[in-house]
């Protein structure tokens, strides 16, 4: 089993390497000249040239990629072009905020999705199943920016219960954290809850239709035990897979939500960096998002391996 996991981890690292190349190539292809962007419209050709040399932009792209990659391995992402601050400092400032937002969303979403999914699976086509599945379909059809704006309209503009933006640099109290994060977390959680609940329901319904579940019924095993022991034990691999995939989906959702709620997280930093053509920051942020995504995929794979006794007990 460790062999298998090791191989998957290696594949993950290779993917990350490939992604780093794509990220670098992608920023190379972005229109516009960095020196021009930094110095503005009225820069003289000489000063532009001087800046290019200073930034090393006159060197071939392959060479720049290798030296950038060497830096990244030592967690040195270069210096921001816009603010001349090391990218690592910028990223570290924002990463905490994003982790709080994502962590809270996951912590809220996973248990709720489990309860809804299992509840719907125990009585397929029952009242709860129908209501939850219609609700889940509606929510997953709404894009985050719409859902977020809708929440702002209701709770901030009309009811005035919560602040419309979550622009906080530090959390002074738990109460303040709750009020400022309630809407961003709700927006992110709603979307992944609906996806996860539907997938958990489908997985459990599928397992419940298998012969060994009928066998358990015929052994006189209680319904509760059938769900919690017989079904869940076999569904846990696929479900962990679904959860990890949805947490990975948070990565893209967070970009939108941080923008809508003006939340000072990593995604917001990325969006700002794109508008100011701050390449080192863009590269660092995208690479971090991709690494998180790949790590979650790896976790999903490992969960599937551990959940399957055939793979778990492989010689």
């Amino acid at each position: 089993m460790l062999n298998l996991i090791g191989r998957r981890a290696l594949q993950g690292l290779l993917t990350l390497l490939l992604v780093s190349f794509l990220v670098f190539a992608g920023t190379e292809l972005l229109p516009g000249d960095v020196a021009q962007a930094v110095l503005g419209q009225h820069a003289t050709p000489e000063s532009l040239q001087e800046l290019r040399v200073q930034l090393g932009l006159d060197r071939p792209a392959a060479l720049r990629y290798v030296s950038w990659l060497a830096g990244v391995i030592h967690l040195d992402f270069g210096v921001s072009l816009a603010s001349q601050v090391p990218v690592r400092t910028l990223v570290m400032d924002r990463l905490g905020h994003t982790l709080i937002l994502a962590g809270l969303s996951a912590a809220v979403a996973v248990p709720i999705a489990f309860v809804i999914g299992l509840g719907a699976a125990t009585r397929p086509a029952g009242v709860f199943d129908r209501i939850s599945s219609i609700a889940a379909l509606c929510v997953s059809a709404l894009p985050e920016f719409f859902l977020g704006t809708l929440l702002v309209l209701i709770f901030a503009v009309n009811l005035r219960w919560l602040p419309a933006i979550a622009y906080v640099t530090e959390f002074r109290s738990f109460g303040q954290m709750v009020t400022s994060l309630a809407m961003p977390v709700a927006t992110l959680a709603a979307v992944i809850i609906s996806q996860m609940a539907r997938m958990i329901r489908a997985t459990v319904v599928n397992v419940l239709s298998l012969p060994y579940v009928e066998m358990a019924v015929l052994k006189g095993v209680s319904y509760r035990r059938i769900i919690l022991v017989h079904a869940l034990r076999n569904a846990v691999g696929p479900i962990a897979n679904v959860v990890a995939l949805n947490l990975a989906y948070l990565v893209s959702g967070i970009v939108v939500v941080e923008t809508v709620f003006v939340y000072p997280g990593l995604a917001r930093l990325l969006v700002d960096a794109v508008s100011s053509r701050d390449f080192p920051v863009i590269q660092a942020c995208v690479l971090i998002f991709c690494a998180v995504y790949i790590a979650l995929m790896l976790l999903a794979d490992i969960a599937a391996i551990i959940g399957n006794p055939r793979l778990r007990h492989q010689e």
């Binding site: 060994y212 066998m215 015929l218 006189g220 095993v221 209680s222 034990r233 959940g307 006794p309």
Partner: protein, 555 residues
Amino acid sequence: MNRRLLDIQNLTIESVATRKPVVRGVSLAIAPGEVLAIIGESGSGKTTLGLTALGHIRPGLQVASGRVLLDGADLLSMGPAALRSMRGRRVAYVAQSAAASFNPSLMIGEQVIEPALVHGIVPADEARARALELYHDLSLPDPANIETRYPHQVSGGQLQRLMAAMAMCCGPQLLVLDEPTTALDVTTQIGVLEAFKRAIRQQGAAALYISHDLAVVSQIADRVVVLHKGVTQEEGPSQAIINAPKASYTRTLLSAYKQWAPGAVAAPTATVGSPLLTASNITAGYGQNPTRGPRVVAVRSVDLEVHRSSVVAIIGESGSGKSSLARVIAGLLPSASGEIHLAGTRLPKTVEQRSKDQLRRIQIVFQSPDVALNPAHTVEQILGRSLALFGGNRRRERGALVRDILEMVQLPAEFARRKPSELSGGQKQRINLARALAAQPELILCDEITSALDTVVAASIIDLLRRLRAERGLAFIFITHDISTAASFADEIAVMYRGEIVERGPTDKVLNRPEHPYTKILVDSVPQLEAGWLEAAAGRRECLLASGGGVTLAD
């Protein structure tokens, strides 16, 4: 009958959607300690009936009328809690497929003692001790360690016994056994059957034994109920039903049942001239590089000859390499060494290297038409592809050709417009065969093509093959684990054991005067109708295995 343990009264069960009855007005009773068998084909409602003894009605079905009394209490009107406390404790179930009925994620021991634990009969360690006793009784190897293994780590025959242990763990009054040995090889079946019979006796339990196999039933049951399309045909003591069947359906069943008894084999056709197909010294297997030193060897140094319009049956237990050999001959599995000649010409190893004409002359028919036939295509399209590829004929002529081929497999011409899902199991198998015939082959490889069919339907397919051979001079390699079918149809039999052909010769010689110890065990494992066969055969088997010249059986 003095006391009735289980009493099913005038029971009718119907489909919720169509209201079509699956079981119609069936009554039967079982006394304590009695073994009653229900005999029927697939779709006869025997499993549905068996499950009612546990008060279980599958989703999609409902009870229309009738009662199912267990010791006088109606199971069909019991509440869920009462049913749960009865299931597994007083009545226990043994399913056909142990592989599907064991939870793959739980250890075997946990599952075997689960009924005892959930019913709170005994503490865990006592339950485990009782399970260990049952493992011994059921002759399971390494009983002390089997409980910590997972279902995928033990063989099918062992799992089937373990399921019996699971059922007997609470000491139930009634066991419902639903085709418990059907999925097993005959050599495995005999051991499992004997273990079941012994364990049922020791427990003093009554049993409802569901099966389609008359011979198996005659060995284990006191009485038999014959079920056809949900209706009881007749009921009586086992030997009376077999020796003097009254209902016409029972007579059909008995006559279609090609009971192979020593002495009765097909007359061989004379083989003259050079063979159509010669396979010499074939070794093949699986792994990353199957042509150069396969990691798992499936076929080892095999020689085989097939003459024109003759039938060679390859028999042996599952995993003995029968299908792999067919795949080598068809070019689907490249061999590691050895040569195949078709009418004197050496055949390339793979399908890709063979010429279209070489491909046309050897066709293969797979066991399951559900997998082999494209469900989105009509019969005409399925046959038309084969015709277009090998016949090169015009589109306009194809309609007539399809009709001809359908006639060859005795199906009406209007079937051309149907899709596989609109056909019965036997009809699908005929189309599967017709697809091969469309290529106008000289040799057809049949891989277990009658195994999934009911006895009556399988017999009609064999009749069809026999006619095709006589009328068209077709040769067949007929792979089967069913010795009775091989005996009734084949000129020559090759016995495969662990990848090797251990014995080969005329059917009469191989089956009636077997030489290799494995052949002896195999032939002796075919269930016979006469009373007392099981114990006698099991005894002979022990002797053979003790002096068997290195033969060991998978269980």
